[in-house]
């Protein structure tokens, strides 16, 4: 009796609609079908409707002269729509990167003020945070804009140090450094210097560990780097000979047949997938043998192999042009590089250009040779920096307060000095608390630069708006905006996550 009961328990399978494995797979495939189906449906519907109502969805404007002038940027008079948007992107990136750096600096200072026992510093920090974070960013940007607009008007000889530094209602103009002829030769010398400096640093750290003397490894390394760079400033033309080998590399690459690249790409794709699967299976292998693979595991393996096969298909059949494009791109890269080392390119590595004031029509304005920071840039820049700094200050304060009091007590009890306690015990732990919210603030700052439109700074949004006002290509421009901000944000996230993983504390 008991035997039959046991065998019926182990052997009888449930009907398929109650079998967990079957149900799971059916549901997954069903969901996948629904998602793909609805995406197709929506896309084709949208396409039909857009065509019917004559809304343009093409990207031709990227290669057509938009006929617009930009107020500032790497190219004031771009000759294609794509170039115009690129100028806007560079302006946005410039603002975001500089803003992140300065906002972090100001934020940390204000945050430390709020942590201070000094009554005055503490209250200044609190007042700053409460004032700045409770006023909308747009209002602050408009405020700074109107303040800067009241600076003296620009004339031929304006500014605190005429010829070097100009400050007026057109903004700030300072000397600009240019990459000049000898730069690439010199860059190689500097790279050699970096390697040497790193070697010296390691050596000095080793001596310090052995003898306990303070050998100042960082300072020695910097001195080595400075010394090598300074010598390189005069001897860099010796690297001019690289011109010939680089050109030969370029020619060699252009001789490779396209089919070889196709095959190579296909093999790499397959090899990567197979290697991944093998590593994946290895990770599931224990001394007792291969663990039972779950449905998820099978799904991942199938996904990896299918991805590789699709890649092979694309490379070999669907898009052979990709391979020749890659080939040409690499070859062109080396050609351009070899030209950088060509004849006559042995002048100074860097050049400096002084700001100038030129007559544009009736009005004097800053010319292109100096580094010009406009009023619009300053308004948006200080707006996002001060605004974000208020939030960063709170993050710094919270991060430090979140380190348990016992940590500083234990460090104090060991006799460590105040600065050592901060540097070796509190800050490393506080940084771990601060990183994730800090990443959020960086994302916010990057996205908030789009408020530049309020004061007419030529960021990607302002340029894009001008472009679609001229061409009527609203949807394509918006799609470019979205892609741009998405890739900026993802880049910031990846960088922050990298440090987040690195500072993680090991437990168990």
């Amino acid at each position: 009796m008991a035997d039959t009961a046991r065998s019926s328990l182990t052997q009888s399978r449930p009907p398929f609609y109650r079998d967990v494995t079957v149900v799971k797979w059916v549901v997954q495939i069903f969901v996948l079908a629904v998602v793909i189906g609805s995406m197709f449906f929506l896309a084709s519907e949208a396409g039909d409707n857009l065509r019917a109502s004559n809304v343009p969805t093409d990207y031709d404007f990227l290669s057509v002269n938009p006929g617009i002038d930009l107020s500032e940027g790497i190219d004031r008079d771009p000759d294609t729509g794509g170039r115009a948007l690129w100028v806007g992107m560079v302006n946005t990136l410039r603002m975001a990167l500089a803003g992140i750096a300065l906002a972090t600096f100001v934020g940390v200072i204000i945050g430390l003020c709020r942590l201070s026992n000094n009554w005055l510093l503490n209250k200044i920090g609190s007042a700053y945070v409460e004032l700045i974070r409770n006023v909308p960013l747009l209002v602050q940007i408009l405020l700074y804009g109107s303040v800067f607009a009241n600076l003296p008007r620009v004339t031929q000889s304006v500014g605190p140090i005429s010829g070097w530094l100009h400050l007026s209602n057109k903004g700030l103009s300072v000397p600009r450094f240019h990459i000049a002829d000898g730069f690439y030769q010199w860059a190689i010398v500097v790279m050699v210097g970096l390697v040497l400096a790193n070697y010296v640093r390691k050596k000095r750290v080793g001596i310090q560990d052995l003898t306990g003397d303070d050998t100042r490894p960082i300072r020695s390394a910097l001195l080595v780097l400075l010394g090598v760079s300074a010598v390189g400033w005069f001897v860099h033309p010796v690297f001019g000979f690289l011109n010939t080998p680089l050109r030969q590399i370029s020619e060699g690459i252009s001789l490779i047949p396209q089919a070889a690249v196709q095959v190579a790409l296909a093999v790499v794709a397959l090899a990567l997938a197979v290697r991944w699967v093998i590593k994946f299976l290895d990770a599931r292998r224990s001394p007792a043998g291969l663990a039972k693979l779950t449905d998820d595991d099978y799904f991942r393996i199938i996904f990896a192999l299918a991805g590789a096969l699709i890649m092979v298909f694309v490379v070999l059949i669907l898009w052979p042009g990709l391979s020749s494009w890659l080939l040409n791109a690499v070859s062109d890269f080396f050609t351009v590089l070899s030209e950088k080392f060509g004849n006559g390119r042995s002048g100074r590595p860097l050049d400096v250009a002084l700001p100038d004031v030129i007559q544009v029509g009736k009005f004097p304005n800053y010319g292109p040779s100096g580094l010009n920071l406009s009023i619009g840039f300053a308004a948006v820049f200080f707006g996002v920096v001060f605004y974000t700094a208020a939030f960063i200050a709170e993050i710094v304060r919270g991060g430090v307060l979140a380190v348990p009091r016992g940590q500083s007590e234990a460090a104090n009890a060991l006799g460590l000095r105040r600065w050592t306690v901060l540097r070796r015990v509190i800050l490393p732990q506080a940084a771990r608390n601060m990183l994730p919210p800090l990443g959020n603030q960086y994302l916010n700052l990057a996205k908030n630069t789009s408020l530049a439109i309020a004061v007419g700074y030529s960021d990607i949004v302002q340029v894009g708006q001008t472009v679609y006002n001229q061409t009527g290509k609203t949807l394509p421009v918006v799609s470019i905006w979205m892609l741009f901000y998405l890739s900026c944000s993802l880049t910031i996230s990846v960088v922050v996550n990298f440090f987040n993983v690195r500072t993680k504390i090991v437990e168990r």
Partner: protein, 259 residues
């Protein structure tokens, strides 16, 4: 105040040694609440003093005053001839001479066990790293966990963490060790491994003040037991005196509750 004539309760041999810690009339307020009321005691070199008493009696506050984790408002504290004042140099000197072990271990979670132990020798004593690591390894050997040197504190058991904390304090080669309820946060089976280390330390002649509820340890290791209640030292005596024939009623009440 016969109770505060601490030296009278010390054996003659101990009484001849030099004073390591001298507290005279130490007062400490938290706002309106007086946590220490004129605490006076003298700890001799190489003495093991166990401080016990009900919670809230000021035991922890007192030993935290000795290395300036709390600031006392009245009275004098002298450690190894250096008076604890607002002078930063004195504070640093005393802190590097006095090791402390906490109830919650307070290891640095972002550093390996070895780095926890070498941190202070390298940054305060300016020892070469090689030398500091050799010392740290010897100390980890002494507390019985040499094999854990490269792990992080979060990977160790409570008892192991507390032994690392003891090694970390010993790495400064202190003249005095303060223990603030070192076994109170431990599981029962781990208490012994920590007490064994402390016992070994006491036998090696270290001056120790131990705040603890481990009466077995007190009876066995202590030279003197200091009983505190309500911010005052109520009774001081040898373990035999304290456990067998206490004189004060409050001491008798306390003992009847815990034994």
């Amino acid at each position: 105040m016969s109770v505060n004539d601490a030296t009278t309760a010390v054996s003659e041999e101990l009484a001849k040694r030099k004073d390591m810690i001298v507290c005279v009339g130490v007062d400490k307020w938290y706002g309106d609440f007086q946590a220490l009321k004129g605490v006076s005691a003298t700890i001799k070199e190489g003495e093991v003093a166990v401080v016990c008493g009900p919670s809230g009696s000021g035991k922890s506050t007192w030993i935290r005053c000795i290395n300036r984790l709390e600031v006392h408002q009245n009275g004098t504290i002298i450690v190894d001839g250096v008076e604890l004042t607002n002078d930063l140099r004195n504070i640093e000197k005393i802190r590097s001479e006095v090791g402390m072990v906490f109830q919650q271990f307070n290891l640095f979670p972002h550093l390996t066990v070895l780095d926890n132990v070498t941190l202070a020798p390298i940054w305060v004593r300016k020892k070469p790293r090689v030398e500091a690591e050799a010392l740290a390894k010897a100390l980890l050997e002494r507390v019985g966990i040499p094999e854990q040197a490269d792990k992080f504190p979060g990977q160790l058991s409570g008892g192991q963490q507390q032994r690392v904390a003891i090694a970390r304090s010993l790495a400064m080669e202190p003249r005095v060790m303060l223990f603030d309820e070192p076994t109170s946060a431990l599981d029962p089976e781990m208490i012994k491994e920590v007490l064994d280390v402390m016992r070994e330390l006491a036998e090696s002649g270290m001056t120790m003040i131990v705040v603890t509820h481990e009466m077995g340890f007190a009876r066995e290791v202590a030279d003197r037991i200091i009983f505190m209640e309500g911010g005052e030292i109520v009774e001081v005596g040898t373990p035999e005196h304290f456990f067998v024939s206490p004189t004060e009623d409050r001491t008798k009440l306390f003992l009847s509750q815990i034994l």
